[in-house]
């Protein structure tokens, strides 16, 4: 009995000791939060050493931002609807997650200049029904339409698709499963993401309906920018745009994503 207790305490002590040996890092860190379930913008792949690695357009931009600030980038991965909370709490210094600047979000955070404009949002449906969904005002009456919680796509479903019932879920993956197994009729996604799913799954296609123009993506920082990051971030974005680097990042991310699917 006594031996058992001593053994058990020794094990706990070892665990705590390992946990407490946190080392100090050489370079000052800057934390960027994202929701890495959204190829080609941000997703997780394995590198040549079988290590998990964050990649994608936003990750590339974030690493240049960190370089220009002279800091080491650390990535915080979470659900999309938790991003703004993490930023407000101060856990993250800035957020890149294919985020558009909206009036609602401006109340919770400040935004940089736009760095990338994607294809307009699209509606992903079953392949045999692509032609049925051709008009935002009439084709969605009584249909269940999915979108990611807390995104502008969810607002599109409520505001623009007349008569549609919004099914809001946290993960795009779950939304696509719901669509494939006929639990919902359509999913509103960013154009690039919708096309990728349509391409990788024969039973899915992009509907004919058009949902208006695309909004550009911006970097979000804490409200009032207390860490004074925006000037440097905007300079980085201007530099990347003038050198046409972001198009290159996009091509690179698409290639990595294609490779990941194989």
């Amino acid at each position: 009995m006594k031996k058992l207790i001593i053994l058990w305490m020794a094990v706990l002590l070892c665990v705590s000791a390992v946990a407490c040996t946190a080392g100090a890092s050489a370079k000052e860190k800057i934390t960027f939060a994202t929701s890495a379930d959204y190829p080609p913008f941000e997703f997780i792949v394995l590198d040549e050493n079988n290590e998990q690695k964050y990649v994608g357009i936003d990750v590339s931009v974030a690493s240049v931002i960190a370089d220009d600030l002279g800091k080491e980038l650390s990535v915080m991965n979470m659900d999309f609807d938790s991003l703004m909370a993490a930023l407000q709490k101060g856990d993250a210094d800035f957020v890149l997650a294919a985020i558009e600047k909206t009036p609602e979000r401006l109340e919770a955070a400040d935004f940089s200049d736009p760095y990338y404009t994607d294809l307009p949002p699209m509606v992903l449906v079953k392949a045999d029904k692509a032609a049925e969904f051709n008009d935002a005002a009439t084709s969605f009456e009584g249909k269940s339409v999915g979108a990611q919680t807390g995104t502008t796509k969810a607002e599109i479903v409520t505001n623009d698709l007349t008569g549609a019932n919004l099914v809001a879920l946290t993960s795009v993956n779950d939304l696509v499963n719901q669509l494939v197994y006929d639990k919902i009729d359509a999913v509103v996604l960013d154009g690039a993401v919708a096309l990728q799913y349509a391409q990788s799954n024969d039973s899915l296609a992009v509907a004919e309906v058009s949902l208006g123009e695309a909004y550009p993506y911006c970097v979000a920082v804490q409200k009032g920018d207390p860490r004074n990051l925006l000037p440097s971030i905007n300079a980085t974005i201007a530099k990347l745009l003038s050198e046409d680097k972001i198009t290159a990042f996009a091509a690179e991310a698409d290639a990595i994503s294609d490779q990941a699917i194989e």
Binding site: D37, L46, Q52, S74, V176, N177, S200, A260
Partner: protein
């Protein structure tokens, strides 16, 4: 609309495992994370649970009440909510530095996860221990007391050693439960098995089969474990024939 999960290899089919072997490491690390998370949590739950159980058996009303309230609170609310409150609430006051152990476990997520699971588990383990103590014949305590042992000594030297026989199998069952329950930690990005499956599903656009594989893995861990526990229980019962 008919669909057949066995037809061809559509990316959304249940059994399309073509993402293996490339993404095997997500599942291997996921299993390691899951096992570490659940074993450490249950280990850390045992001592507070013993304390809670003794509190509930205490004759002193405030102590008895506190033990009962803790157990009631943790057993009557969802683990998911407890996890959120502890991760975003408690651990916004306590800052855990981001540091990686064993190459893939980030302690700034792992420690809040362990704390939440251990606090939750201690409520259940306390009930296991209490039941184990109550199952020891009351005559044992009376006999020890009449031999002149103090109350604490009778509990420590006579009742608890006998109670352990009742407690251990149930504790092992709690571990099996914890292996499954810990999957909830994936919502906060702890890289356990379900998180691995979710990440592979998102990266490869194969939206279901990674979860099916994860289910197989959970089964392969828990089924042999429950069989093992049954064997141990049988072995421990051998001395009971009087």
């Amino acid at each position: 609309m008919e669909w057949n999960p066995f037809e061809g290899m559509s990316p959304s089919s249940f059994f399309n495992f073509s993402f293996l072997p490339k993404y095997l490491s997500f599942f291997v690390q996921g299993v390691e994370y899951t096992l570490l998370l659940s074993v450490v949590s249950v280990a850390f739950a045992v001592l507070p649970a013993l304390l809670l159980a003794l509190m509930r058996l205490s004759k002193w009303k405030p102590v008895k009440w506190f033990g009962g309230a803790y157990i009631a609170a943790f057993r009557s609310t969802p683990l998911m909510v407890q996890l959120y409150i502890i991760y975003y609430g408690l651990f916004s006051v306590i800052k855990v530095p981001s540091y990686t152990i064993f190459g893939f476990i980030d302690i700034s997520r792992f420690i809040p996860g362990v704390v939440a699971l251990a606090l939750n588990s201690s409520a259940y383990v306390a009930e296991i221990i209490r039941a184990g103590i109550l199952a020891v014949d009351a005559g044992q305590m009376e006999a020890a007391r009449s031999l002149g042992l103090s109350k604490v000594k009778s509990m420590r030297l006579v009742v608890l050693p006998q109670a352990i026989k009742n407690i251990l199998p149930a504790l092992a069952n709690e571990l099996v439960t914890m292996v499954k329950e810990s999957s909830i930690c994936s919502i906060l990005g702890m890289a356990e098995l379900i998180w691995g499956a979710k990440t592979v599903a998102n990266t490869t656009y194969k939206t279901l089969s990674p979860y099916v594989l994860a289910a197989f893995v959970y089964f392969l861990i828990n089924f042999p474990a429950s069989k093992g526990i049954e064997a141990i229980e049988r072995r421990m019962r051998r001395g009971d024939r009087r």
